[in-house]
């Protein structure tokens, strides 16, 4: 049995109603648009044909022209050229497939339709969500360019837009995060058996801002930010993760370079037949710390190895062997 779905699309800012008949298999399917005649509506005659088309493997759309049936638009008016426009716009319903293009087109039509109807511009737009749009509607090579273009489109509407987006992987640089003029970040973590929520501003071009993480509660009045309080983030919360920062990466670099230098030193000692068994043991301890991400401990042990090794090989150890890489206080645990 073919399935029936109610759909809508926009033509010159008017919301038109349609029904989409889809074959059982997942598709993609070739499409057919079935248009009603003068004084007709989409429920009249057309469904029979649509069912047959769907049974034959086509996605079939029936719809009401503007001013007819369930569609918006002035009644008692029939201008063939407008109906041609309606038919053309029906291609927005691509078997319910939403593309960035169709979303953009819908926003544009709604925006200017609203402007024409009410003489007012939409001042606020929410895109909920960019993550979904990216995942379902723009796979493939050009997604960055599509996002750039979509954001440019929103900018040119000169409305204030809020784009909901999930930062799934901190290692990747998501286009909307660096193109946006600001970022409000919501945090959520488990504190014992309580769910804690907080909000922070990460970026705000052209304005100073409160840079603390503030607790947030969701009440029957919506979301309330507690401005007097500061969120006590717990280890492992999203608010704490940024501390695993590039600065920590510097320590990692430092330790791994040091370990490599020691290994070269050990090879050298073997060549000179200097006993270094104990240093090898200490080095493996340093490597174990390193593996367990105890970078401070690893650095300490490795530094001791390094100076001991240099002494034995006979090179004079420099007073402070290797400069400890600078790090912000946060990294110290």
């Amino acid at each position: 049995m073919p399935s029936e779905k109610k759909v809508q699309f926009y033509s010159d800012g008017l919301r038109l109603a349609g029904v989409l008949f889809l074959p059982e298999d997942p598709g993609p399917h070739p499409g057919v648009v079935l248009c009603h005649g003068f004084t007709g509506i989409k429920e009249f005659i057309l469904p029979e044909y649509a069912c047959r088309f769907a049974a034959a493997g086509y996605a079939a759309l029936t719809f009401d022209y503007r001013g007819f049936g369930e569609s918006e638009g002035p009644r008692w008016r029939l201008i063939p050229w407008e109906q041609v426009t309606d038919i053309r716009q029906s291609s927005q319903v691509r078997a319910l497939e939403v593309t960035v293009h169709s979303v953009q087109k819908m926003i544009k039509q709604e925006f200017f339709g609203h402007l024409e109807r009410t003489k007012q511009r939409y001042k606020r737009i929410v895109i909920d969500s960019m993550t979904a749009l990216k995942m379902f509607s723009m796979q493939g090579q050009d997604s960055r360019i599509l996002i750039q273009s979509f954001l440019r489109f929103l900018s040119e509407l000169e409305a204030t837009s809020l784009i909901v987006s999930e930062h799934l992987d901190r290692r990747t640089l998501e286009t909307e995060f660096f193109l946006s003029r600001g970022e409000i970040r919501l945090h959520k973590w488990l504190d014992g058996s309580m769910i804690r929520r907080a909000v922070s501003i990460e970026k705000f071009r052209g304005s100073p801002f409160d840079d603390r993480m503030r607790p947030v509660s969701i009440t029957s009045k919506g979301m309330i930010v507690q401005l007097e309080a500061v969120a006590q983030s717990q280890a492992g919360s999203p608010g704490v993760q940024p501390r695993e920062s590039l600065l920590e990466a510097r320590i990692i670099d430092e330790v791994s370079n040091l370990i490599e230098a020691i290994m070269r030193g050990i090879d050298e000692a073997h060549r000179l037949q200097i006993p270094v068994r104990d240093i090898e043991v200490s080095l493996s301890r340093a490597m174990l710390h390193f593996q367990r991400r105890h970078y401070q401990k690893a650095l300490k042990v490795a530094l001791a190895c390094d100076s001991e090794l240099k002494q034995r090989i006979g090179t004079v150890p420099p007073p402070p062997p290797v400069t400890v890489p600078p790090r912000p206080p946060e990294v110290m645990r």
Binding site: R144, Q148, R152, G182, R205, M213, V230, P242, R327, P328
Partner: protein, 259 residues
């Protein structure tokens, strides 16, 4: 040390760079979104303008009208700054003519930039590619003899103006072109919050990195000089502030967390 360095105009940073930047070379300014890259870059250009140097800002991330408004609170005189709008228009999905950014396009003086965003024209849409931008820069550098150039940002250039398969080679050739053009350029680079530094950092003559860390007391910002070919530099990470005077690096206190 090479004599005749030029100042970045950021209090404290020139000290970290042991006098400033060696002129005529490209430098990377990296950091996560919201670290303060654009402000630092603007401070670098303003320093040039004050000394009568011709300066160019190539905007790939932000429309120039917003840039102008955002910089207003610093009360810097940027009137004579040339701004090249290299933001691509809304892409067309219908087969309408796409206009590659003209290689004859002229930058606008900051003072003449309007309040509102430039709108994509109905029938043609401007697209910036790395090739057209490079050609355009080539023409501009010959004509206007810029001494300081900012590209904001290299990330946008890579993401929006190149095909994915050509990224590595094209980025390299673009940086090489800048190096040969003998202009002192500052290229901003977006860093992810974690993980690897993008390859542009390896190609430049130096890298100034901004770090952004969050704890209970708010966002803490730090700056470090990661690499500086042909000059000694400070190895430490120092805290900095953004106030209405721009960035100020605090090199007088002890380095951040240094032990």
């Amino acid at each position: 040390m090479i004599s005749g360095k030029i100042r970045t105009g950021v209090p404290g940073l020139d000290k970290m760079l042991h006098g400033g930047l060696v002129p005529g070379r490209p430098y990377i300014l990296s950091g996560p979104p919201g670290a303060g890259k654009t402000i630092l870059a603007m401070q670098f250009l303003r320093e040039g303008l004050e000394g009568g140097e011709r300066s160019l800002f190539v905007a790939l991330e932000e429309p120039p009208n917003e840039l102008k408004i955002n910089m207003r609170s610093f009360r810097w005189n940027l009137d004579d700054l040339d701004v090249l709008d290299a933001n691509s228009d809304i892409r067309r999905f219908e087969p309408t003519p796409i206009l590659e950014i003209s290689t004859e396009e002229e930058p606008a003086k900051m003072r003449s930039i309007g309040e509102r965003i430039r709108k994509t024209p109905d029938f043609e849409s401007k697209e910036v590619t790395v090739h057209s931008l490079q050609q355009l820069l080539k023409n501009l550098l010959v004509k206007k003899h810029y001494e300081r150039v900012v590209i904001d940002s290299m990330t946008a250039l890579r993401y929006f103006c190149m095909r994915e398969f050509e990224e590595a080679v094209t980025t390299q050739s673009f940086m090489r072109y800048l190096a040969e053009s003998k202009v002192t350029s500052l290229l901003t680079l977006e860093l992810p919050e974690e993980g690897e530094v993008p390859p542009e950092a390896f190609l430049a003559r130096g890298e100034i990195r901004l770090h952004k860390l969050r704890d209970e007391s708010g966002i803490k910002r730090f700056i470090s000089v990661e690499k500086y070919k042909g000059s000694s530099h400070d190895e430490f990470v120092y805290p900095f502030d953004i106030t209405n005077a721009g960035l100020t690096v605090h090199t007088t206190g002890k380095p951040a967390g240094g032990t």
